[in-house]
Amino acid sequence: MIENRLVSQPVLEIKELHKSFRNLKALNGVDLTVHKGEYVALLGPNGAGKTTLLEIVEGIQKPDKGFIHLFGTTWHENQKELRHKVGLSFQDTRFVDRLTVMETILLFSSFYKVPKKKAVEVLEKVKLTEKANAFVPSLSGGQRQRLALAIALVHSPEILLLDEPTTGLDPHARRDLWHILDQLRKDGLTLILTTHYMEEAEYLCQRIVILYQGKILADGAMDQLLSSHAAEQVIEFQLIDDLAPPESLEKLKGFKELYFEQRTHKWVLKVDSHFSTLKKFLSKVGQDNLRLLETRKMNLDDLFISMTGRHLSE
């Protein structure tokens, strides 16, 4: 894999990409290189610039400045070729109400001059065969996302760009989609998806890119990202009678951060290792004052909070 990366040309290469809407900097100097076969998750809160970045890659929007090469070429030079290599789904698209699932997929496959057989196969792949004759408005949210995925896949693209493919789906439907995307990996597909769900990023993608205010804050494998930030462990607790934790907690060995989390009504203490700190922690707080105590590994959201003070999915 490493060697392969060195010799092969990247699928996507972006340098110093800028895009503004009036005086709002949606993208503020983005660098990103993606190689064949990589599954990349673009994570970031609302307004981070995920859609803007993806749509520039898709050739839908034009950057103000910066370098962007897709398969070694640009939309300007090779629009036709790239359209055949790129499969995509937008954050929200409604299809034609009066068409069935099958008719919709056949319509799109006709643009790529793909035979009907292929369209049928793709429906099979996204598990929509039973719904082939259903009208589009009658589909559930999850089924609609799978139809959008089928349309993105109908011409066997080399890179798949999905904008929030699972937003608004229930956990079950979300998992269904993950499995389908997981299956596609073996075809050598490259995937970039945007999401607000860190579980999704963790499950599907070996590489995670965190975008915030038009800039890439972090880029790497999950473990790498978490270990790059020294704190590894999180202790969450609640105190009786709304007591405040003693200030002496900051003197704990391996102390990183302590704050109150409004959403969960828990105190969050980040430390190097809870094995070495838990005993001291209990003695400082006083076991009787504790209403609740949990320990867990640090996750992306914790990382994001310590970097920006905000949650990933706000």
Binding site: K80, R83, R94, F95, Y112
Partner: protein, 345 residues
């Protein structure tokens, strides 16, 4: 009064005034239409009743006599007399360029020739006879000859109007709706040929308008024995030219609008004035002389006039070729302009 009602009212008002395009179409358009209609129907000032006098049917002497009478009547500034050959007079009547024709019958008495079914002619006749003494009463010679009646004037106009409405709403509105649903940008993100995309609209709309026109023709035939004097091929070719013109216009007016409410406004703004100004229900010659050269060039007017020539006067495509080329040119120019500013997003 409760707060949420105010908030809701505020919401609607904001929806309205924060969309300046809607404001334009809903406020400016009715004013413009009212003004135009006011000009057209201002009886006291402008509305001239056009009467043709047939030259052959009267002697030299009586022409002078008629002209004198004409001038004395014209002094009231509501009538405009023109002395024409019989053929020319009937042609004008058929095209709605004159409200009625005065000629003498075989006994030498003056008769008024018009279709009593045509309101405009009837009112001109009434206005004329009200000025004459009772012994001078002019008898009516109702037109029954096919191609000369009001219904013959009306049916081609209705066909033209049907084409315009069907295409502007069917194509224009649909494109705007696709844009609003973001389907347009999704289609644009495929290698779909733009030509095919627009061609598909044209083909389907042609079928629809053809069907609509056939229904009108069949209805006209069975109810009024309305018949087509010209040949079907010429009619079909000219019909296509009209369809093409309106398809281009539909693309142009839908090229940028981002939501269907604005779309509604724009389409109304284009169709309503054309309906009023293009001589569908009554001749556009009622408008002031100075604007008639402009009105004659409205696509709907050109289309309706050409259809009338083929259907009522038996003209073939070579005679209406100028009009057909004009329509195709309008269609092409609108199409190219629309494509240039077309918004897929």
């Amino acid at each position: 009064m409760n707060n949420s009602l105010w908030k809701l009212i505020g919401m609607h008002l904001k929806e309205f005034y924060r969309d300046p395009e809607i404001l334009f179409w809903t406020i400016f358009l009715p004013i413009a239409t009212a003004y135009i209609l006011g000009v057209a129907f201002d009886d006291n000032r402008r509305h001239i009743q056009k009467i043709a006098i047939v030259r052959e049917s009267v002697s030299e002497n009586s022409i002078t006599e008629w002209q004198q009478k004409a001038t004395s009547l014209s002094a009231r500034e509501t009538f405009e007399f023109s002395v024409l050959s019989g053929e020319e007079a009937m042609l004008r009547l058929r095209r709605g360029r004159t409200a009625l024709v005065l000629q003498s019958d075989n006994k030498g008495n003056v008769v008024a020739v018009f279709d009593p079914g045509n309101r405009e002619s009837s009112s001109t006749y009434l206005a004329l006879t009200s000025l004459l003494s009772s012994e001078e009463k002019i008898p009516i010679q109702a037109i029954t000859q096919k191609g000369h009646r009001y219904i013959d004037f009306l049916i081609p106009g209705l066909i033209a109007m049907g084409v315009m409405n069907s295409i502007l709403w069917g194509v224009g509105y649909s494109i705007i709706e696709f844009r609003m649903k973001k389907l347009l940008r999704r289609l644009h993100a495929t290698p779909m040929s733009r030509l095919n995309f627009f061609l598909s609209y044209f083909v389907v709309r042609n079928l629809v308008t053809l069907f609509e026109a056939l229904i009108l023709l069949v209805f006209g035939y069975f109810s009024f024995k309305h018949m087509i004097q010209g040949d079907f091929l010429s009619l079909f070719l000219f019909f296509l030219a009209g369809n093409f013109a309106f398809s281009g216009i539909a693309l142009l007016i839908s090229s940028r609008a981002g939501n269907t409410r604005i779309g509604n406004g724009i389409i109304n703004a284009v169709t309503m004035p054309m309906l009023v100004l293009s001589g569908i229900f009554f001749s556009y010659l009622n408008f002031p002389e100075s604007v008639i050269p402009l009105l004659e060039k409205l696509p709907l007017a050109v289309f309706a006039d050409g259809l009338r020539m083929i259907m009522n006067e038996g003209a073939d495509i070579s005679i209406v070729a100028g009009k057909a080329v004009y329509l195709v040119a309008i269609g092409l120019a609108s199409y190219l302009a629309g494509l240039k500013i077309f918004r897929w997003n």
